[in-house]
């Protein structure tokens, strides 16, 4: 059995605490230092792409979202409070940018018919090596896109990004109770969708 006390899949790597160095860089960026902001871009681009891709299910859209989110972050960085988590703050901007983008530009149908991008992406490191894995990934993506926006966002931030429920609620600007309900509903739907694949 997976021992429930062993929760090492969510280690302290997800801690929201900022180092003094990062705080210093953020302060400089808030004063308009482009080189400092560039360092933040270099540091957070990969994580923001992962989140944007999971929200959109599309590689090029995710890249657009990342760029737009950073531009918004640059404009708003003066409003960032040092007692908050910068990562959570960036994720909040990314989520809002993604939602705006998807509402404007993307039809849901695209997700349903989209092929998993690692089939054509030469940079993909973790290429599935069997048809079963391809099927699981495709099924997961389809199930993910069947969730409501709020359910999908809550689950992504919790399951893949490792934010605490409190942080997810803060990012989504909802109560922790509402956040939990979104996660519960999302998990329930995902389990139903993925259950047939467990035995394979």
């Amino acid at each position: 059995m997976h021992h429930p006390a062993n929760l090492s899949r969510h280690p302290s790597v997800y801690t929201s605490e900022m180092t003094q160095t990062e705080q210093k860089i953020i302060r400089k960026a808030a004063k308009g230092d482009r080189a400092a902001f560039r360092q933040l871009v270099l540091e957070h681009s990969h994580a923001m792409f992962r989140l944007a891709w999971r929200l959109s299910g599309d590689e090029s859209i995710a890249e657009d979202i990342v760029q737009e989110a950073f531009i918004k972050a640059w404009r708003k960085i003066g409003e960032f409070r040092m007692d908050a988590s910068f990562k959570s703050w960036l994720h909040r901007i990314t989520v809002n940018t993604a939602m705006d983008y998807l509402r404007k530009h993307v039809r849901r149908k695209q997700f349903e018919t989209a092929e998993p991008e690692w089939e054509t992406n030469e940079h993909a490191a973790a290429l599935p090596d069997t048809d079963t894995q391809i099927d699981i990934s495709r099924q997961t993506q389809a199930a993910m896109m069947d969730l409501s926006e709020a359910e999908r966002t809550a689950l992504l931030l919790k399951h893949y990004e490792g934010h605490s429920i409190e942080e997810v609620a803060h990012i989504m600007e909802i109560t922790t109770g509402a956040c939990k309900q979104n996660i519960f509903r999302a998990v329930k739907k995902m389990r139903v969708a993925l259950r047939p694949l467990v035995a394979t």
């Binding site: 004063k31 992962r50 950073f70 991008e117 599935p128 605490s164 259950r195």
Partner: protein
């Protein structure tokens, strides 16, 4: 004893359940263990949903795309003035220009080698443009001139680097620009079959990578080592190659 719901098990899975005794209770109960195992197995499958990885220089690519779109506001006027002042002594560089020239050079080479499309008979072709005019583009000369300009920028940045003890705020940014341009020119040189030039540009890449990613965060010892490496011959080679490329007839 309270009934344990799937929501309880979900919170336990994510390490968010408030009752620390729940884990023990689940471990001791066969029925709860089975339910928890099922939840773990099903959620574990969701881990297969992994995004395509970006390259190591993805952050630099994002910066390249957004840096020109970052506006400045009045409250940052002091910084803006400083940036303007700094720009007076910084090398001028245009990545967009480098990209266009490299692409044109590669296109010119392809047209020259393959004869190009017969646009004279193409009703869609723009008036006044002939196949011969396209083929007449001297792709060698175009590439050499472009790389010479590129090397002049490299020369300026490397000279500044070896003569200063502290990293300037724009140093790594310029190095990133040059790295991207250097790769484009190397690929264009390879496409033209100019192996010597391609090899020279390939030799430059490791240093540009180090300048772009490590100079700012690296130690003083790292900076000294890089400075020595540049003084020991790389700077000289850049200047020699630049001179060769600027000669009227070039064969490298």
């Amino acid at each position: 004893m309270r009934h344990i719901t799937d929501e309880d098990l979900t919170l336990l899975y994510y390490g968010e359940h408030e009752d620390p005794a729940l884990a023990v209770r689940v471990a001791e109960s066969e029925e709860l263990s089975a339910r928890y195992d099922a939840l773990c197995a099903e959620l574990k499958l969701a881990d297969a949903y992994q995004p395509p990885l970006r390259g190591d220089d993805y952050g630099a690519e994002v910066w390249q795309r957004i840096s020109s779109r970052l506006g400045e506001n009045d409250s940052r006027s002091t910084v803006r003035f400083s940036a303007w002042l700094a720009s007076l002594v910084q090398p001028r560089f245009s990545l967009a220009g480098a990209l266009s020239i490299a692409l044109v050079a590669a296109l010119a080479f392809m047209l020259g080698r393959n004869g190009g499309p017969d646009i004279n008979n193409d009703p869609m072709a723009p008036k006044g443009v002939t196949t011969m005019a396209m083929v007449d583009i001297d792709s060698d000369r175009l590439l050499n001139r472009s790389v010479a300009t590129h090397l002049e920028q490299v020369n300026i940045v490397l000279t500044q680097f070896v003569n200063t003890s502290e990293t300037s705020t724009n140093e790594t940014e310029h190095a990133t620009d040059m790295l991207v341009a250097n790769r484009l020119y190397r690929q264009a040189a390879e496409a033209q079959g100019n192996q010597k030039l391609a090899a020279f540009l390939a030799d430059l890449e490791p240093l540009l990578i180090e300048l772009a990613y490590q100079a700012q965060s690296g130690s003083a010892a790292t900076r000294e080592r890089m400075q020595q490496e540049i003084k020991d011959g790389l700077l000289f080679r850049v200047r020699v190659m630049n001179n060769q490329l600027n000669k009227p007839v070039i064969s490298v």
